[in-house]
Amino acid sequence: MRFMMFIYPGLKEEADWMPSAEAVAAMSKYNEELTKAGVLLSLDGLHPTSEGARISYEGGTQRITDGPFAETKEVIGGYWMIQVRSKEEAIEWASRCPAGGDVVLEVRRVFEMSDFSPELQAAGGLSEVPPEQTVAQ
């Protein structure tokens, strides 16, 4: 089963977004451990919300707000996609992340096609053509 592991840096100021070389080195080592254990599928780090925007709906009306956002504590800093055998294993990996301060990590199980009812599976099959490959050269 796959889990998405989110990290919330919990920073008070977005100005502090860029991590120290020390923190980056520690995180690289952690990522290497995930790789060596054969559990890591992909990962990405995200820019602060000043580079992003929110598209929200209140009472059906769409509103687009550019970042940065006030409530920085609830901002995602990056994610890992891992393949493990249980939620406990996902928790164990998350708890090994070299995090400190007010960081929060969250693990969420990824839906597989077989988790959906046949009706939902059928609804999900509207486009039979996969997107273009980006890696193949």
Binding site: K36, A37, G38, R96, A136
Partner: protein, 452 residues
Amino acid sequence: MSQPRSPSGAERPVTHRTIEAVWRIESARLIGGLTRIVRDVGLAEDLAQDALVVALERWPGSGVPDNPGAWLMATAKYLAIDSLRRSRRLEHKHEQIAREIGIQLAMDASDLEAALDDQIGDDVLSLMFMCCHPVLSTDARIALTLRLLGGLTTSEIARGFLVPEPTVAQRIVRAKRTLSAAGVPFEVPQGDELKSRLSSVLEVVYLVFNEGYTATAGEDWMRPALCEEALRLGRILTSLAPSEPEVHGLLALMELQASRAAARVDSTGDPVLLPQQDRGRWDQLQLRRGLAALELAEQLAASGSGGDGGGGGGAAGPYALQAAIAACHARARTAAETDWHRIATLYGALAQLLGSPVVELNRAVALGMAFGPAAGLELVDAVASEPSLASYHLLPSVRGDLLERLGRSAEARLEFERAASLTQNSREREVLLRRAAAAAAEPSPDCGDSAL
């Protein structure tokens, strides 16, 4: 190094499942390290299990230690000293090992940590080579690998392979005894031996994958779990032996095949063949991982890395070739866009490498798609007399398909009927009989369906 966890450890209750998860992450490194020290894989596993028992007793009260792997290793080492010292026939060898462990424990582990990183990798790789040693039967290799490297329980392995639990338990016990009796060294083979021993490791991993992959989904959760287990082992291998092209080739093959898992069965559980699959259901992340691994395998093969002996450097190995074929399907956004010319060429290279009539038969299908049914039929007829294909249902099935496309319906019907009589699979038999009936009904040359 990992940061300290919450000091009390009381924030989250430590359950049996928590400890199982730690075990799964640490067991291969633990057993590998212990095997190197005590020089017996059976004893090493016992010690690791005993350390686990101590963890199960202590952790629920104390919390999971900051570095659970190091904790388990230290505990196992203390247990090792105990057991070696207590052993009645206090051989000189045992005493010496016990002393060495004592010295290691006395040293500050953190100073050694960086230096030990490579050692741990070597230990896990040595353990893989040991579990897949040719002195063991294939079944024993699989069971031992899943047990010692995958951290699976005997009952999980039994469920995965649909065999009784005592059978698996016995296989593992016997395998460990055989390794010990044969004096199989705990090491990464070098030179000429490396190639053949590595191919044994890759074979075991691929067999585990296929065991899970060929089963139709939905039977038992353990079957798809075997695929994930094989993928995990394959990924670990790419970290441990990064310069071996075939290691990446096998991973590419498994990732590409696994990327199609969700499209391989319909909502009623019936298998869906490749040309009919809903390609929107292919897992794009896994597919890209597969293509990336293939690219690496091809680069390494081209640069001649790891090619010390055998087929010679520069040429792709059998796993990379099969992955390259899978990649042709993966890159085609619709079945009609499939590059059959390239697939035919790749099957040609694979046939040269393996000399297998089954590969030739696949090449015939590809030729039939690339150059028309006559080209395919020519090759089918060339291999038709192979004794190993005598009762292989796909031979008449492929032949029937090509004949039908050539408008030779009467002959096609006979081939489909013959294929139906040979297959063990009832669903497949139905399909073949239907095709036989259709061939009998319409004499017109038309249908362009592949038998793949």
